[in-house]
């Protein structure tokens, strides 16, 4: 980062710099406030929340809300906690992200390096799929899942998300590979590499940045999806649906501290993905524009 700061053409005075940092700090605090509220209230006994200040630090620190949210809270009719749903989400999101990214990469490879008659049409149609609202496909999708015998199962959800995600991942990889020199593919053909060898040995090793973009995009979308999960989840509903059931339950007292803990649990994986891969994300988004 130091290099970036040194690179800026405009040199700023000391006072302006302090002002800028103060302003940035203020914004950062503002954005962190909700997280603070959630964090602080998830480690308080319920009485402190209902009786007192939401903003205050807890008088008695406790991890019970977290334990409850994870393993004992009432979700719908069962007192299972969020744990089984969290696992459902993981079982759904990992294969769905992996498959849609790999298929997107293969599509991008074929659409740029193995052009065929009507390839721009195919790509146009795939792009079009990015603009179809979720609601429109609900009923046809339900019919298809039913016919395939995948309704109400994790594989069914994986299929739905893969189908829905391919449009985006294809777009990413196609634009990235369009800037990749075709002469390299020709050289590899002369060298005797086949379709998959060229993909595996020549293209994939330089696809890191765009793969990160695709993974982050797909991960956040699939993890945070509610509509497909609620519609097709059946008995294997994902985390988002379970969290909704936890928070919206109309029976008994509202355990805000448990709700806060559950909400953090639900947001944690995407948060981690962003923190780990975030800087590659920006780099990958830039890569296409700089090279192309």
């Amino acid at each position: 980062m130091a290099a970036v700061i040194q690179d800026t053409a405009v040199s700023t005075g000391r006072v302006t710099r302090v002002l800028i940092y103060l302003l940035l700090l203020l914004f950062a605090l503002f954005y962190l406030l909700p997280l603070y509220v959630m964090g602080i209230n998830s480690v308080k006994p319920l009485a402190e929340i209902t009786g007192g200040n939401m903003m205050a630090l807890p008088e008695v620190w406790t991890l019970d809300p977290w334990r409850s949210a994870w393993s004992t809270a009432q979700i719908g009719v069962e007192p299972t906690g969020l744990k089984p749903y969290f696992l459902n989400s993981i079982l759904m999101v990992v294969p769905a992200v992996a498959i849609s990214t790999i298929v997107g990469a293969l599509n991008g490879y074929v659409l740029t390096k193995w052009r065929f008659r009507g390839d721009t049409w195919v790509f146009g149609l795939m792009l079009f799929s990015c603009f179809i609202p979720f609601q429109i496909v609900l009923i046809p999708m339900a019919v298809v899942l039913g016919k395939l015998g995948l309704a109400g199962s994790v594989p069914g959800l994986v299929l739905v998300h893969v189908v829905y995600g391919i449009g985006f991942t294809t777009l990413y990889f196609r634009n990235y590979y369009a800037a990749f020199p075709t002469e390299l593919v020709r050289a590899a053909q002369i060298d005797g590499a086949g379709f998959f060898q060229i993909f595996w040995r020549i293209l994939l090793p330089v696809s890191g940045p765009i793969a990160v973009v695709s993974v982050i995009w797909q991960f956040t979308n699939i993890w945070n999806d509610f509509l497909f999960g609620a519609s097709f989840g059946g008995t294997s509903q994902p985390m988002t649906v379970a969290l909704n059931n936890l928070v919206q339950s109309s029976t008994g007292v509202k355990e805000y501290n448990v709700h806060f803990a559950g909400a953090i649990l639900a947001a944690l994986p995407t948060l981690i993905v962003y923190i780990v891969a975030g800087r590659y994300f920006v780099r990958g988004l830039m890569a296409g524009s700089v090279k192309g």
């Binding site: 020199p181 390299l184 020709r186 050289a187 053909q189 002369i190 005797g192 590499a193 040995r201 020549i202």
Partner: protein
Amino acid sequence: MGFLDIRNVTKSYGQVEVLHRVDIAIEEGEFLVLVGPSGCGKSTLLNMIAGLEGISGGEIAIKGRVVNGVHPSKRNIAMVFQSYALYPNMTVGQNMTFGLEMHGVPKPERERALADVAKLLQIDHLLDRKPGQLSGGQRQRVAMGRALVRNPDVFLFDEPLSNLDAKLRVDMRTEIKKLHQKLKTTIVYVTHDQIEALTLSTRIAVMNKGHVQQLGTPKDIYDTPANLFVATFMGSPAMNIIPARVVARDGVPYASVTDAEGAPRLLRFSQTNLAAWDGRDILLGIRPEAITDPEGADRKSQNIQTLANRVTVTEPAGSDTFVTMTLGGRDAIARMRADASVAAGQAYDFAVNMEKAVAFDPATEMRILP
């Protein structure tokens, strides 16, 4: 039958034919250069030999085996691309042995081939680097090394020097020529630089608009161009093309050209058969180096004619001085010794080596054969 045969090959994209019945037989060990202006189909022809482009008509055979439809990797050819096309994620060593690996050559053998070629090209110290860490000239060497390692029947080069700066280009040109003389490999080399074509080749195919205009040795192409296109494309500065009329005196043909003042001047032809063209217009082709100061004229020539004319401009260029004059209503360039005493505006007696002059039929633009 040659080593590499291109028989009546055509190429069409949809309705558009971009190569028309190209017919070239290349012997083993030959260095054939395909040269021509941009868009004339050189790369297309090379890619068809490589198998990267389909063949619309005719056939291509390597060592007597027709390779139409054979996969590029099964033709035993290697190609050096204009952009070098080095795999960015692999080291130089991996780049060079990738082809062998794909062909299932065992590792010890690959290592041996790599070591030999790396030594030959003096890139042993670069083998562990990535292409991004190399200079243009080094990348060029690696690209050639990748081709050499395979020990193919035919090497294909597509403008391999055009991304280098002027000095390096000349060095690498010499290097490629040395390599060819040492290894005696069969090479097809594409360029649009006529100097590269003349210096490197054993034979040149001059192409224009998808037609081979002339196929011959550099000397054939330079001294006896088949038509106006070849005459003006090859050579720098270009051949002077001067409108002239043939005048026969006692059966001896002369070219009558008008000087700067519009007065006719006679230059005797060496080709006696031009007497048949008595009274008709032709285009007279004379290379700049065939018009000199009298002291600089070729002593071996049997036919030096004197041409009195006014000098328009002189351009000293170090080793030579280029002199421009008006001849037949057009600018003509003479190439003089550097210390020839000649000044702009002056009347001067030029020495014209008519042995080297060629005549073209203005209607067909073809050379009138002697």
